[in-house]
Symmetry: C2
Subunit: 434 residues, 2 copies
């Protein structure tokens, strides 16, 4: 698309937002991406790097020296820098950190890398504006002018005591409206939400979403202020969480993207398919056990896929509603009430569907009345059982500390297929007596 | 839990964050909720109202007079106020707006209510800090002290020309570091992202997430500044969007919650179940057409649920990956490349699963070799077709402007069930020749 005219490329990209440059780099060939990265200055490329696809970034980082990477991350906020260094091999991490010119940033990154994945510590940035409660507004403004240059966005100013323990917060607005000789302790808000550094990141996201916070300070067990988490990091956590639930519901076992390699995609898909295959085996055996019925009632066997499909669909509906309720903490009322509601609902759905099935089946497909009745009664029972299973499996999983979203995917479909077919043939045996 | 001791309740709730009070109110009986709402002062209750469940809020608003509601929304930001008034009947909307003491707020709410749902206009708030480019920093600080009291959070200060057209932006930080006699035009950033008031809200969410914006100004076609959207509103949009996709994948046709009435839940679930039932009918007819094969190869019929289930699972996996790729704008490469990738993947999965099936089926269930071979070949073909359908249906829907998430639910499962069974029996017919 473009000729190797360095100056023009430089000019072109200078005007463009770094997120857009990142998108271009994800598209172009790898050599071109490296070429462009080396062409632009590190202030811009460091921002581009944080926005790139993980795969593209990995390849680019492999082609930069430890020194070059250090120059890039030197321009970043500590959380982005730690994320990117965290993607490197341990040995390269060491070398990049040693190559950093800013010793404070190096120490911050080391600290951030030491926290476990998916905790508040791994998510937070060290950059924040901190003032001591004993300062005056005027002194504070002077100091903030210095600190704020390093912080991309000032959300809140955190007030600490002389032991660096968090005691309050302050907005820039409060500071601007205050008189210049007031003490910080007088104008700061003493009530400040904070999260522990070891808190789960999804929990942090929930807290910030619930209280509509734009930033939250992170403290250790002694209440000492360690860093802060901003809402843009939380948007990513929420997105990841939603993606994960969605993929689980679709039977994909790890975080994959359409552009991943065939090998990665297969690895993510095959395990659930094997599980489903074994479920299928069980249904084959069940059907095999009723082979004798085939001579008298061949039509019974035509309905097995229909019964299995309805069981699967109803089960997934029920479990999806529960999984979302659990995720939003919005499940109310006792388990008995829920059971009653689910049974009533499935009776309504079951009767409507059974009536449709009987009339259509006997009118258009010409099945005998006894087959119609058998299938209709089975359908109602299967829908009821499937919706109870779909409702309570996620609740039980959640109580045992397992992610309830597990229950929405092939797991619930497969087990409902098996239950459905078994119930269907047992009811048929009772009614038709083979 | 508590006796009717007004003072104690008041004291208890005074200390508690409004989001927590809202949670309590969602739990307690309706009379108690009304009682508590009337007890607390309107500054707190107005914030509680915005956090309540829609159902609880609706019931509470029904029991407040137009004047009482006007007092509540009078304390709110214009966007929250418009959301709540928007939930009332048209006639009550009119009365509440007329009862508002603040004429400016009333006008703002009227304006906000006039925008279409799911647009930037419906999402934005009118409160923002606006300065004219000709002002000096010192003058600006004075004016901001006035404006900022009305704005809960100052994200950016928007710079406009004398016709109120947006010309730049400024952060509080920039203002603090600037010299007091500088002109605003000198220190403001001329490049400012903005969205049109009629832009789709999901598009706005994407833009803000992509560029990591915490607030974005909203303009009309003439570039006149109308309002601003903050990232906490976007978090809600993203969450709703994820919930919608998830529910669609589970075959639930409208936004329901576990706590909705049985009637609402049935209405959301039944349509997809009826569709699945009709799909099931087609499979019954197909199987009925192959009835003659039953005498010679009864075992063939035992495998139909297994084949149908595998087709459904594979199809959902493929479509979920594509739907996520489309949602994240991360699908790259040509359709041919995608076809090639999908076929190769399904061949790998197919061969692994077919090998497992043949060995297990013949070893443990004692099926004949020709049945094993037939089922194995069918399984590979069905997996291939199902994954191609799962990949391309969402792509085609997306190109035609239909939400591709539609393709992940019962729709894809049902059609893959039918395709799967048809292919299976056709291959059986060719191999076994019945």
């Amino acid at each position: 698309i473009y000729e190797n005219n360095d100056l023009e490329i430089k000019k072109l990209f200078k005007e463009v937002h770094f997120a857009d440059v990142a998108e271009v780099l994800d598209e172009v060939s790898f050599d071109e991406a490296i070429y462009i990265i080396k062409l632009l200055d590190s202030e811009k490329t460091s921002e581009i790097l944080t926005e790139l696809d993980e795969d593209t970034r990995e390849k680019i980082l492999e082609n930069l020296s430890a020194k070059e990477i250090a120059d890039e991350v030197g321009e970043m906020d500590s959380d982005d820098a730690a994320d990117i260094i965290g993607e490197l091999s341990e040995e390269r991490q060491e070398r990049v950190i040693n190559a950093l010119e800013d010793d404070e940033l190096a120490a911050d990154i080391k600290e951030l890398l030491s926290y476990q994945d998916n905790t508040a510590g791994a998510l937070m940035a060290k950059e924040l504006v901190k003032v001591y409660e004993t300062w005056t507004v005027a002194g504070c403004m002077r100091r903030i002018r210095g600190q704020a240059k390093e912080v991309t966005r000032v959300h809140s100013i955190y007030v600490v005591d002389k032991e660096d323990k968090l005691v309050g917060r302050l907005s820039l607005k409060d500071l601007i409206i205050a008189k210049s000789d007031q003490k910080i302790a007088e104008i700061s808000k003493a009530k400040v939400d904070a999260v522990n550094v070891n808190e789960d990141d999804e929990k942090v996201a929930k807290i910030m979403a619930k209280y509509d916070l734009e930033a939250i300070p992170v403290i250790d067990d002694n209440n000492v202020l360690l860093g802060r988490i901003t809402i843009d990091d939380i948007v990513d956590v929420l997105k990841e969480e939603a993606d994960k639930d969605y993929q689980m519901a679709a039977g994909i076992s790890q975080d994959v993207e359409a552009n991943d390699t065939i090998w990665e995609l297969t690895k993510a898909r095959l395990p659930w398919l094997i599980l489903a295959l074994f479920g299928g085996f069980i249904s084959v055996s069940i059907l095999g056990g009723f082979e004798t019925a085939m001579d008298t009632y061949p039509a019974l066997f035509f309905f097995t896929p229909l019964i299995a499909a309805m069981a699967g669909n109803v089960g997934v509906q029920s479990s999806a509603i529960i999984v979302q309720g659990l995720a939003n903490d919005s499940l109310k009322g006792s388990l008995w009430r829920r059971l009653f509601k689910e049974v009533l609902q499935s009776l309504i759905n079951g009767f409507v569907l059974a009536a449709l099935l009987m009339s259509a089946g006997m009118l258009f497909l010409g099945f005998k009345v006894e087959i119609g009745v058998t299938v209709a009664i089975s359908l109602i029972s299967v829908i009821m059982i499937a919706s109870i299973v779909g409702t309570f499996v996620p609740i039980i999983l959640d109580k045992r500390g397992v992610d309830p979203a597990l229950a929405t995917g092939p797991f619930i479909t497969t087990s409902n297929d098996i239950f459905g077919i078994l119930i269907y043939f047992m009811i048929a045996k009772i009614i038709l007596g083979f």
